[in-house]
């Protein structure tokens, strides 16, 4: 029998929680930060936590103090995301990986539309995002064209404990997925078979990703990190027909998931 190598390097894309710190009043920052962390403590205890400072560009409170506050609150940080290299020096003393990942054009434009302070233009060659002007004018929820790769086509049942991740692509679901399975796409997910597990679209942060399902009975749905769970039969109350899940900005600029019937279903009895 062929011997397996005991040490190998493999790529991965692990789910992590981002603690996002935005611009705002420096005095109330600490309180708000600690409050947020306290509310999410059970989640933070089990997941990888990453501090996202990309939306924090004000210079009055520097990255150093924020990291210290988060650590003092008992959060074990795995890395810090920054938008421009200027913050790198302030973080040098922590033995933390610092990842420079500029916000996409779309995020920047959206924030600008909401009256957010000026942001420097991110590089236009960000490969993970669709930066065409057309998509920037779209409302979130109207899916833009995919990244150009063919979708992953699921034809075998996705079982409990199994995960399908489509990097930079959409998924077309043509076989049922079970409770306890995970369907993850950087793009959108279109399901023609029952979805019973977790389903996460826009995993790479694409807020225009959507989930369209003919039979959605999911445990959890998420678009671009915004998620919601469902109690038993909660989805049935939607009529049990074809459903689309999209991400919208409400009047306060908060991201919300919206569930909408794709077509009015004439009957709830479908078997």
């Amino acid at each position: 029998m062929k011997r397996r190598r005991q040490a190998v390097i493999k790529g991965s894309s692990l789910p992590a929680l981002r603690i996002v710190v935005r611009d705002g009043d420096a005095h109330s920052l600490r309180t708000e930060l600690l409050e947020t962390i306290d509310n999410a403590r059970p989640l933070l205890a089990e997941a990888i936590a990453v501090l996202d400072l990309r939306e924090r560009l004000a210079s009055d409170v520097d990255a150093h103090d924020i990291v210290t506050a988060v650590r003092d609150a008992g959060v074990r940080l795995a890395a810090v995301l920054i938008g421009d290299s200027g913050q790198r020096d302030a973080l040098a003393e922590f033995s933390l990986p610092v990842i420079e990942a500029p916000l996409s054009t779309r995020d920047a434009l959206r924030d600008a539309a909401l009256g957010a302070p000026d942001q420097p233009d991110p590089p236009a060659d960000d490969p993970s995002e669709d930066t065409s002007p057309a998509s920037a004018s779209q409302r979130p929820g109207e899916s833009s064209s995919g990244p150009g790769l063919a979708p992953v086509y699921l034809t075998k049942p996705l079982r409990s404990g199994q995960r399908l991740y489509a990097q930079g692509r959409d998924i077309v679901v043509a076989a049922p997925t079970s409770r306890g399975s995970e369907l993850i796409a950087d793009g959108s997910i279109y399901a023609f078979s029952p979805i019973r597990g977790r389903v996460l679209a826009g995993a790479g942060g694409d807020t225009s990703a959507c989930i369209v399902a003919t039979d959605l009975d999911a445990e959890l749905v998420a678009v671009a990190g915004v998620y919601r769970t469902f109690e038993a039969d909660e989805l049935k109350a939607h009529g049990g027909g074809p459903v689309s899940v999209t991400l919208w900005l409400d009047a306060d600029g908060n991201e919300r998931l919206t569930l909408a019937a794709l077509a009015p279903s004439s009957s709830t009895q479908r078997r």
Binding site: S160, Q162, A175, S178
Partner: protein, 270 residues
């Protein structure tokens, strides 16, 4: 050609060993030379269910470790010459089970001309369960009409699809069959337990058998008789149907209608 069939479930207590014993006996009764192996090292049960515990001298681990020959360890069933039992070790550590050892035993069973090797898997998804399904050509996935058992069965189907040798080598996939045990039609009709159609929809594999809940099962276990030999009992007939279907016979699913649905109601689709 020898076919390896694993009887597995994920969850414990759903009736793997009961099903293994009846399935193996049923194959033997139909003239198939069958070996049934207990993979539950440290918690051996199959020999008790088949009533041969007093005749076990050597076990599976003894053979794997070279302490005994396979022919010495195989216990011939006293009711049917076609059936041989290889008991699990009650004393050895479960780490004694090794892939190459299992393969060597299977190869020898093939050489001895067995038609079927039935592997009675332990519960869980650890070494014993993984090795039981490793060389499988077909799988009987046993579940109860209950959500946690169904979820574990689903997990096990995923493991079969990824960890079996057939899956790893890209051969024709393991043929999967669904066996629902402890089924009470009356309660399923009332919605108190999952119906067989619900279970089948959730797991998406064909049903091989639905075994009704029966007091006979407990009695048979205590007496060391496979349920399939309990003449006249619905559970015995359901197991017999299951074996017949496995061998290609077309038999309707019986025992799915409880006494609660009167004849006229069924007739008029009530």
């Amino acid at each position: 050609m020898t076919r390896v069939v694993v009887v597995t479930s994920g969850k414990g207590g759903v009736g793997k060993t009961t099903t293994s014993a009846s399935f193996a006996s049923g194959l033997a009764m139909r003239g198939k030379k069958t070996a049934v192996i207990d993979f539950d090292i440290g918690l051996r049960n199959l020999d008790l269910i088949l009533g041969c515990e007093r005749r076990v001298v050597y076990d599976f681990i003894n053979v794997i470790q070279g302490d005994a020959k396979l022919s010495q360890a195989l216990v011939r069933d006293k009711r049917n010459d076609n059936l041989s039992i290889l008991a699990a070790s009650q004393t050895k550590d479960k780490d004694a089970l090794k892939e190459d050892g299992v393969k060597a035993v299977f190869d020898e069973l093939r050489d001895m001309g067995f038609d079927y090797i039935v592997c009675d898997s332990p519960a869980g998804i650890e070494t014993g369960a993984l090795l039981a399904l490793r060389f499988a050509d077909e799988a009987l996935v046993v579940t109860n009409p209950e959500v946690s058992a169904v979820r574990d069965a689903d997990r096990m189907l995923g493991i079969i699809d990824s960890k079996s040798l057939r899956a790893e080598q890209g051969l024709e996939p393991v043929k999967e069959h669904l066996v629902i045990t402890r089924y009470v039609p009356k309660r399923a009709n009332k919605g108190e337990m999952l119906g067989h159609a619900d279970v089948q929809e959730l797991l998406n594999i064909p049903i091989l058998g639905v075994i009704p809940e029966s007091e006979v099962v407990l009695e048979c276990s205590n007496q060391g008789t496979p349920v399939i030999l309990a003449n006249g009992s619905p559970a015995a007939r359901a197991y017999d149907d299951m074996v017949a279907r496995f061998l290609g016979e077309d038999r309707p699913l019986n025992f799915l209608n409880g006494e609660s649905a009167p004849f006229w109601k069924r007739l008029f689709g009530g």
